[in-house]
Structures are given as structure tokens and as C-alpha cells.
Symmetry: C2
């Protein structure tokens, strides 16, 4: 087992692939005060990356830069080996092509110093299938961000079969250390968690358009002016916990359980077994962490007001 | 065909059913300056409604009250006929029970003056099936709000087979007039639009819990700290329009179309026909309304920053 870096000593990171996602990562690392060494096969990579960082910088400045953050503290290297030399962490953000990812991760692994963890931005592949060509898959971890990576906190972390659990733990701590919101997954689920949920909604939306049941604009308005206003505050589970009134999720499942089978989406419902019922209720209780339904409602309402006021103050109003 | 009221002359409305949703409507109408006459079979309806209005009033005050809004400008009536007497609009928010709704809507219709439109808060039934017992279904319309109705702007409006199209148009204008964000549907789709989308996501979440792929807390965090931060600004369609880079939705569909079939959710994907592709792209173009991808990205980023700052300023931070 390798020794992983002391993250307090890390001052330079590598971004391999500098498209929208990789470039977004680069901007974020710069804002957090790191030096960024980048590699990308595109001939105009430096120019594109510069534009991307320029575009992201005002937003990052507004959210707060680290003390020594410098917008120009980056370099694009012609050789991958030069980009990963001397860095304390590597973020891979190549296009979503399995063969390409396999080869690239093997090359990164071959070039990087031992113990340096590599996080892949893949939006759906598991590390088990991506690490097949790498000599030392132990340090290869999925670290899936959301667009734009410089503004959305979520990173989903998962290892593959060959990944060292200590590397998964290091990556989770590292992303947390640099200010991200981390979900560490036990399983390799295709699409991880957020993309699975997004994708279910997206497919239902496509079906509605396909059947002439709703237009694209109606679908977006239904979310932005409806449940979307709650979701930055309370996720879908806690939302339904509150929909159950004082009885919470237990009342919700017992009351609306039967209508789970009603044809409100094309997605089949799972059987609402005692076990599933129990797990969902226990999860909500855990998440509520002692807050009563009334307290959660008060927090939700304060949050919705804050969000609506913030959006109303934007130039031109909500998008 | 009836003459519908001039909405500028409406000063009193009726709320039939004063649970969480009906009481939330009552609070909203009061804040908009209307007098509210309520009816509910519960013996402690007045007490409960008072508490609900008390709880909602600070939020409504913060969002801005109408000039003559008064928190105590309401009454609960023992007889349904008294509650609907002299009002310019009736919002029905009874429990989600088809037989109960049928009987209640027939009673409301029998008691209300001609031409007064009745909006039902049903979260899934179509008006065709709910209006079967009513003598004059022409003025019966679905007006589906989101919880809490005093904070979430969305109202989905749809008529049934027996509904006068002019009543549907009146209801849409009315909800818009009182500050709501209105979707007028051409079709009676079970669950309307937003609940269909929510439900797809909810079922996928239940499957994940059922299979041990994610915990309740991970599911909520995946939304609140991930795509949920974008959804108050840009719905799922516009989100994917931006995921396509400068090529927008067309690039997105052509590039990720094949992976539509990948098992990222249990929901089957529709066939991506030329027609569906065209409709989705055209819808995004219409919604973008001339804004370039760069402009949409700038608006999105400004919005996410505003939302994140607003949430960070809440006491206790995001829920």
C-alpha cells in the first residue's frame, strides 16, 4: 500500500483534459489557491483554458478566493509526464469514451509519482472497467463533479475493485478539504446517484414531449417555478417527509403507498416492502437529526424565501 | 356559456378544505388582499386555519403583502353554501379521494353563483373523472398548486371534457393575476407535469434505497448540493441544452443519444426519432429566446451564486 500525500502539503495539482469540466476544475483549484498543471491534446488548449478561467473568475471571486489564489497560476504542458510531475493530486476529465479513458488512466498512472491519487470526472463509468489497462489501479478513484465544477459543490466518490480503500478515503477527504460536498459510495452504480435521479426525470420529460403531453418550456417551468425551488434546500426524500404532515415519511408511505402504483410516470415502482418502508423512514429520521416537521417546514420556508429574493434581485430576474 | 367575473372586481374568495394545501391557499389569498371564506368538515378547522395562517404570515410579509392585506380577514362557515356565497372564485383542496372530490365538487357547484370558477387542488385526478356528479361541469377546472402554496408560484391548470374552454382561460388568467406562475395544459395527463417528473425521480430513489445503492441522506445530498442548485434557475431541458456546449441541445442529443439507452435509470428511454429530436431542440431554442449558450451560462452562474449566498446567510445554513 502506498503512502498518500499529506494534503496540507499539496500546493500543485494536475488537470488532465481541459474541456468544460476539466477547465472548470482548473478554475476551482486556482481559486482554492493551488497551482494547476494541465495537459490536453487539443492544439488550442491553452487559449481555451484561459478563456474558461477568465469566465469563471468573477463568480469564484464573489464566492471567496483562498488567500494566495492567483488567476494565472497555471501552465499547459505538451507532455502528459510534465503535467503530472510534482503534483499532489490529479483530476482526469477526458471525453466520455471508455477506451480513451482506459488508455489515458494507464498513461497517467505510469507517469505520476507513487501515492498520488487520480480522480476521474467520468459521469457514468465505474473505475473497475476504466482501470483495466493501468499498472497500479490502487490509486484510481472516481471523483464525479457537476457542471459547472467551480460552482456546484457535489462530488461523488467511488473506487473500483482494484482501488485501495485508503485511496477512496483519501480522495473523499481531499475533496472535502478543498470545499466540496462529498458522497462516498459503497457501490459502483452506473451513473452514480445524482445522474441516476436526473436521468429518470430527463427520460420522463422526453416521453412527455414525445407524446405531446408537455412542451419543453412547460417542463422547465414546471421545475423552476415548482419543486425546483425546494430542491436546493431539501432533497426529494425530505420533501416527501414534509408532505406527510406531522406523521412525516411514515404517514406519507402509508397514505400514498397505494397510489405509488398509479401511472404517474413510466417508471415501475418498487414493491413497498416492510423493509423498504423501514429504511426510508429511518433514513428520513436520521437526516432530520432531531428537527421536528415544524422546524423543517420553517427552515424550508426561510430557504425558499431566500432563494426567491436572491433570484428576484438578479439583473433580468430568474433565467 | 356563463359570464365569468371581472377579476378586478373580485374581493372575496372561498377555500373549501383547509388542510395544509387549502390553508396555504387561504394564507396566500389573504396576503394578496382578498377576504377568505372557508369551509372544512373538521370540528377544529378555525383553530387549525388560524395557526396555519400565523405560521405563513411572516414569510408572506417578507415577500410583500398587497396594500389592503389583513391577516384576520377570514371566516370559517358551518355551511358550505355560506362559504361560497358572494365570492368571485372558489379553490377546492379536499383530501385526494376521488369519490369525496366528486361529491364535494357537485355540492360546491350546486351552491355557488353561476359563472364563479372552481379550481381544484387535486394533485393527480383529471377534471373529467372528478366532475361526473356536477350539474354544471363547465366552470370546474384543475388548479394544482405546490406545497407550500403560499411560497411556490407554480399552478398547473387543466380542464376536463365538460369544462368550458373559457373557464380554463379565465382560471389561467386569474392565477396569473394573483401572482402565480401558470402552466395551462392542453391534455389531461395523470399527475400533470411537475408531479410526473417528481415521481420519476422519487421512484428511482426508492429503487436505489431498495437495492442498497444509496441511502436516503445520500439521495437528498446528491440533489441539494448537485443539480438541485441549478433547477430553480434552469429546468432539466435547458440544463441539458447547456451540457451540449456551444452546440446546445442538438449536440447533446447527437452526442449522448446512444447512451440514452444505458442503464442509468430503470425508466425505459423513448426512441430518439427525428421528430422527437426536432421537437426538443426547437423547444430549447424557443425557451432560450435568442440568448446564446454563453449568455445562458452567465445567467446560470449568477443565479447559482445568488442561491448559494442566500442559503449561506440563513441561520444554521442550508437545511
Amino acid at each position: 500500500m502506498s503512502n498518500y500525500p499529506n494534503m496540507h502539503d499539496v500546493d500543485t495539482v494536475a488537470c488532465v483534459g481541459t474541456g468544460t469540466i476539466g477547465g472548470g476544475w482548473a478554475a476551482y483549484f486556482l481559486a482554492m489557491g493551488y497551482r494547476v498543471q494541465a495537459w490536453d491534446p487539443s492544439p488550442d488548449a491553452a487559449e481555451k483554458l484561459g478563456r474558461l478561467i477568465d469566465a469563471a473568475w468573477p463568480a469564484l471571486t464573489e464566492l471567496g478566493l483562498a488567500p494566495h489564489a492567483a488567476k494565472d497560476n497555471w501552465s499547459v504542458h505538451a507532455e502528459l509526464a510534465d503535467a503530472v510531475a510534482g503534483v499532489g493530486f490529479i483530476q482526469e476529465s477526458a471525453p466520455e469514451d471508455l477506451e480513451l479513458k482506459r488508455e489515458l488512466l494507464a498513461k497517467i498512472d505510469a507517469a505520476a509519482a507513487p501515492g498520488v491519487v487520480v480522480g476521474s470526472s467520468t459521469s457514468g463509468y465505474g473505475m473497475t472497467e476504466m482501470a483495466t489497462a493501468a499498472a497500479s489501479p490502487a490509486r484510481l478513484v472516481v471523483g464525479h463533479p457537476f457542471n459547472p465544477p467551480y460552482l456546484i459543490p457535489l462530488v461523488e466518490v467511488a473506487g473500483g475493485e482494484g482501488t485501495d480503500p485508503a485511496a477512496v478515503a483519501w480522495a473523499s477527504k481531499w475533496y472535502d478539504f478543498i470545499g466540496k460536498s462529498v458522497i462516498t459510495m459503497d457501490h459502483e452504480v452506473p451513473g452514480f446517484i445524482a445522474n441516476r435521479l436526473q436521468e429518470a426525470l430527463w427520460r420522463e420529460a422526453l416521453h412527455m414531449v414525445d407524446n405531446g403531453e408537455a412542451t419543453v418550456e412547460q417542463i422547465d417551468l414546471a421545475i423552476t417555478d415548482g419543486p425546483g425551488l425546494r430542491w436546493p434546500l431539501q432533497g426529494p426524500m425530505l420533501t416527501f417527509h414534509l408532505a406527510g404532515g406531522q406523521g412525516g415519511m411514515a404517514h406519507m408511505l402509508d397514505h400514498f403507498g397505494p397510489s405509488l402504483k398509479s401511472p404517474w410516470t413510466r417508471l415501475d415502482a418498487p414493491e413497498l416492502t416492510e423493509e423498504l418502508r423501514g429504511n426510508v423512514i429511518a433514513g428520513c429520521d436520521e437526516e432530520a437529526a432531531g428537527r421536528s416537521v415544524d422546524e423543517l417546514i420553517a427552515q424550508r420556508d426561510a430557504g425558499i424565501i431566500a432563494v426567491r429574493r436572491a433570484l428576484a434581485d438578479l439583473p433580468g430576474g430568474p433565467a
